[in-house]
């Protein structure tokens, strides 16, 4: 299936989902759906670096929080133009602010992408557990910075008040849900495009053997930086609408461990070698967690993720996609590539 058709199919599915929620659901469905889609974006973004390139990133929460806090920053600037902006610039700033949420998402993505680039330069000579620890440390460093940055609320947190209604969509959560559908489409299309392109081959060689990749002419460092930027940017974009979703952002919610754990667990459970894997993992785990939240307690969420992860690592280390391929004798993605 060609990429434009793939995007079109996804858009139709997204529209159908939106319509279903409008006609048969209530606002809770939108809140729950938003969270699941947010995990689709996060898991897909993680998989670009972790699954395709084999670099396990434990700092997803950091990139997610960069997106969230870039929104908090822009929102706060918009609220306090007369206090924080020099008088000569206030006129221009009043024309620009308040920024629309889609603009903030793009800015959040750029900020997280730039941090991804910096992280890449600093850490990509590390591999395996050392790289994972470095990314975990990045999230800790960023959280410390945010805790000590008063302008975005510091450790107290910051309120971001979404409008109660928005034209066309009605309730603001409907708008947020629609935005997350678009982000999920962008993330999945991006992952699928990578998978079927020269870049996908390059990423796979990095995962398999970097030395051999260089000997084949693959510019491994450049490709790894591309992966960290793309992955970071998508995570940042997933985090940018978060303040509007939750209304009150504090460091412990934006840098929550569950984002890092879920970003890893979802692709691992779904399968890391294909764009479908993170999608399946995110829908499965995200939905299970939502069900657990309303039937048991949100405390059970990480327990569910942990147990499923252990189970899959033992029974199906290649995830659901790998299991499917083993059971039904489907060809692997890589061998399909040579036929496309």
């Amino acid at each position: 299936m060609r990429t434009p058709i793939f995007i079109l199919v996804q858009a139709v599915i997204g529209l159908a989902l939106y319509g279903l929620f409008i006609f048969y659901g209530n606002d809770y469905w939108f809140y729950a759906g938003y969270t699941v889609l947010q995990f689709v974006v996060l898991a897909t973004a993680w998989n670009i670096l972790g699954g395709y390139c084999g670099y396990v990133n434990f700092g997803s929460a950091g990139f997610f929080a960069i997106g969230a806090y870039s929104t908090v920053f822009l929102y706060t600037v918009g609220q306090q133009i007369d206090d924080v902006v020099p008088e000569s610039l206030q006129g221009v700033m009043h024309l620009i602010f308040p920024l629309s949420l889609p603009t903030m998402i793009v800015i959040g993505g750029i900020c997280a992408g730039l941090v991804g680039l910096g992280t890449g330069y600093l850490t990509l000579r590390l591999r395996g557990v050392f790289f994972a620890i470095a990314t975990l440390a990045l999230a800790v460093v960023l959280e410390t910075l945010v805790v000590n940055w008063e302008f975005v609320g510091g450790s107290r947190g910051a309120y971001v008040i979404p409008p109660s209604k928005i034209p066309i969509f009605g309730a603001y959560i409907h708008f947020l849900f629609a935005l997350m559908i678009v982000l999920a489409i962008v993330a999945l299309a991006c992952a699928r495009l990578i998978e079927r392109s020269r870049l996908g081959y390059g990423f796979a060689t990095i995962r398999d053997d970097e030395l051999a990749a260089e000997a084949c002419g693959v510019p491994t460092l450049r490709l790894k930086l591309t992966a960290t930027v793309l992955s970071g940017a998508l995570m940042g974009m997933a985090g940018a609408p978060f303040p509007y979703y939750i209304g009150y952002v504090e460091p412990s919610s934006a840098f929550n461990l569950s984002y890092a754990v879920n970003s890893i667990a979802m692709p691992m459970i779904g399968g890391t070698t294909s764009w479908v894997g993170p999608l399946i993992g995110a829908i499965l785990l995200g939905t299970l967690q939502q069900l657990a939240t309303v039937t048991i307690s949100s405390v059970a969420n990480l327990l569910i993720v942990g147990l499923l992860l252990i189970g899959f690592v033992i029974v199906a280390p290649n995830g659901i996609v790998g299991l499917w391929q083993d059971w039904f004798g489907k060809k692997s993605v890589k061998s399909r590539r040579s036929e496309t």
Binding site: Y201, A204, R207, D209, A213, A215, G217, S335
Partner: protein, 246 residues
């Protein structure tokens, strides 16, 4: 006199206090078949790694096709026509055998060609052509882990060939192979040389070295101790001493 294709000039490499290469000089002419031998730990693989950019040398220069390539990344050297095969085969295990060949075509040949890059069909044909050359045509769709040892060696050579090299360095491409398999690989390397590719063969199997090489260079403890016609070099008392430990 024409300039050599590869010139290694006073190359030195240390690992901490250990001198792996000490002031090594080496010229390789275009179209030549050079054998590089030496006991284990003599610095052969280090020399290859320095030439190919996997390791960076502390002193000395490497010039390839008239261009200084010191400080260049390994992939840039590959794109300039310097290919290598590894001592232990390193196939991309998540890909089919054919895709292993496709990678260098995509990243080296297409990068060199720019806008005139190989089309999908041409890539497919080129993969099959190279696999057929090394008698792996019928294994194109296989997982490289299912290949035998000699087939993996051939895949290594085919992958290096896919970069369309001017110089190919075969690092112990025959280690662990049977007599007939060694002959197979030697014939393959001579065939590749016949296509205009300069080849440096690093090997311990002397009958392979002797039947392949037009010139022989011997490294011992990071120093070049002999360089010349194979028949003369193997009778050099210093070489005999290094191998027999006398």
């Amino acid at each position: 006199m024409t300039a050599p294709l590869l010139r290694v000039d006073r190359l030195s490499k240390r690992f901490g206090g250990f001198v792996a290469l000490d002031d090594v000089n080496l010229d390789v002419a275009e179209g030549e078949r050079l054998g590089l031998i030496g006991p284990n730990g003599s610095g052969k693989s280090t020399l290859v790694n320095c030439i190919c950019g996997t390791l960076h040398n502390e002193a000395g220069t490497v010039t390839f096709a008239g261009e200084g390539i010191n400080g260049m990344g390994a992939h840039e050297r590959t794109r300039r026509g310097l290919a290598r095969s590894f001592q232990l085969p390193r196939p991309f295990t998540s890909m089919s055998v054919a895709d292993n060949i496709r990678v260098p075509l995509l990243y080296t040949v297409n990068a060199r060609r720019g806008a005139k890059h190989l089309s999908h069909g041409e890539l497919q044909d080129r993969c099959m052509e190279l696999l057929t050359l090394v008698s792996l045509g019928d294994k194109a769709a296989k997982d490289p882990r299912d290949l035998t040892q000699v087939e993996m060696r051939k895949l290594e050579l085919a992958r290096a060939m896919a970069t369309e090299p001017k110089l190919l360095i075969a690092d112990e491409a025959m280690a662990g192979l049977s007599h007939s398999e060694v002959e197979d690989i030697v014939a393959l390397l001579i065939n590749l040389n016949g296509r205009g590719i300069t080849i440096i063969m690093i090997e311990h199997i002397m009958r392979a070295v002797m039947s392949f090489s037009q010139r022989l260079v011997v490294l011992v403890s990071g120093k070049k101790i002999a360089d010349g016609m194979p028949e003369t070099v193997i009778e050099n008392p210093e070489v005999v001493g290094a191998y027999l430990g006398t």
